[in-house]
C-alpha cells in the first residue's frame, strides 16, 4: 500500500487527487493508497445534509470560510489545518463487501492510533465516529465506487475546533467536539502523528481483511 502525504491542500485540490487515484485503482493501474492531508478551513456537507446543519452560515461567510456540498455520506463537518484527514483508496472487491464493516474498521484503526499518541479514544456502539468520553474527536464519511473506497475520516489533532460551533457536526446539534491538543494540553508534531496513523492503518488493514478472507479455522 502506498502512503501519500499531500501536506496542507485545499479541499478541491485534494479531491482532484482522490478522484485521479480512485479512477486508477478502479482501472487496476495503481495499488491501494492512503492519502494524508490537512485542509485549508472549509465546511463540507455530505449527501444527507441540509441547511439546518449550518446555523452559523453568516459567521462562516464573514470569516471567508467556504461551505460546499460533497459526494460522501454523512452530514456536516469542519476542516482546518492541524486536523489530520485520511482518505483510504482501497479496493474491497476481493474482500468482504460490507460497507458498515469497513467504517467499523476505519474507526477502530483511528482509535488505536489515538491511543498510541496518548489519547484514550474509542468507538461507541450505535454512534459513528471516534470518541474521547462524551466528546467526538474523529468524523467518518465514506464513498464507494465499484467497490473502491474514497473519502474517509477526519481527526482533530492540533486544529482550532471553534469552527465546529458554527455547524451541527454530523447533523447533531448536541455533539461536543474535542481535539488531541485539548486532551493532552500540548501541540503535537504532525509529521510524527501522520507516521503513527499511517503505520497503524497499514498494519490494521492487513490484519482485518487477511483474517476475514483466510481459510476457516477448524476447532
Amino acid at each position: 500500500m502506498e502512503i501519500m502525504d499531500l501536506g496542507i491542500k485545499s479541499y478541491d485540490d485534494a479531491l482532484s487527487v482522490q478522484h485521479e487515484i480512485l479512477q486508477r485503482r478502479i482501472d487496476g493501474s495503481s495499488e491501494d493508497t492512503l492519502i494524508l492531508v490537512e485542509h485549508c478551513p472549509i465546511v463540507t456537507l455530505g449527501r444527507l445534509s441540509g441547511n439546518a446543519c449550518v446555523p452559523g452560515m453568516g459567521d462562516l461567510e464573514k470569516k471567508g470560510i467556504p461551505v460546499v456540498f460533497v459526494g460522501r455520506g454523512g452530514k456536516a463537518t469542519f476542516h482546518a489545518p492541524g486536523q489530520l484527514v485520511m482518505y483510504p483508496i482501497i479496493d474491497l472487491s476481493g474482500k468482504k463487501k460490507d460497507i458498515a464493516r469497513y467504517i467499523d474498521f476505519l474507526e477502530m484503526t483511528v482509535a488505536r492510533s489515538l491511543c498510541r499518541i496518548g489519547v484514550r479514544a474509542d468507538r461507541v456502539n450505535e454512534r459513528r465516529g471516534v470518541w474521547v468520553g462524551a466528546d467526538k474527536i474523529a468524523f467518518t464519511g465514506v464513498a464507494v465506487k465499484k467497490w473502491v473506497t474514497y473519502h474517509g475520516v477526519a481527526i482533530n489533532i492540533n486544529n482550532d475546533i471553534g469552527g465546529f460551533s458554527l455547524i451541527h457536526p454530523c447533523g447533531d446539534k448536541d455533539i461536543q467536539v474535542t481535539s488531541a491538543r485539548n486532551v493532552l494540553g500540548r501541540e503535537l508534531d504532525m509529521s510524527e502523528v501522520k507516521a503513527v496513523f499511517a503505520e497503524q492503518f497499514r498494519r490494521d488493514i492487513e490484519n482485518e481483511y487477511k483474517k476475514a478472507e483466510g481459510p476457516a479455522v477448524v476447532a
Binding site: 455530505g46 455520506g73 464513498a143
Partner: protein, 84 residues
C-alpha cells in the same frame, strides 16, 4: 415470457447494519432500458456512506420501485430486472 428468463428482484444487501437512513440519491438507469452486468444502476446514500449499486445481470430494467429521494431498508426491493 420465455422459459429461460426470470425476474430478479434487486435489494440493497450491502447496506448491512449501517442503514439507519438510506436514501436513493440517483438512478442512472431508466425503466424499460437494457442494463448490463456491472453497470452502475443507482447511487445510494446512508448516514455515513455513499455508494453506487451495479447490476448483477444483463437484462431489462422492467420496474423501478423506489424513486429518487425514497428511503429504503435492507431487504426492500428497489427494482425488478428481467434476466435473459
Amino acid at each position: 415470457m420465455k422459459e429461460d428468463t426470470f425476474i430478479f428482484k434487486m435489494t440493497l444487501d450491502m447496506l448491512a447494519d449501517d442503514a439507519d437512513e438510506a436514501v436513493i440519491a440517483r438512478w442512472h438507469a431508466s425503466e424499460m432500458g437494457r442494463v448490463r452486468k456491472g453497470e452502475e444502476l443507482l447511487e445510494v446514500v446512508t448516514d455515513k456512506a455513499s455508494f453506487d449499486v451495479v447490476s448483477p445481470y444483463d437484462g431489462l430494467l422492467v420496474k423501478i420501485l423506489k424513486s429518487e429521494g425514497s428511503s429504503v431498508g435492507t431487504g426492500e426491493v428497489v427494482a425488478e430486472i428481467r434476466v435473459g
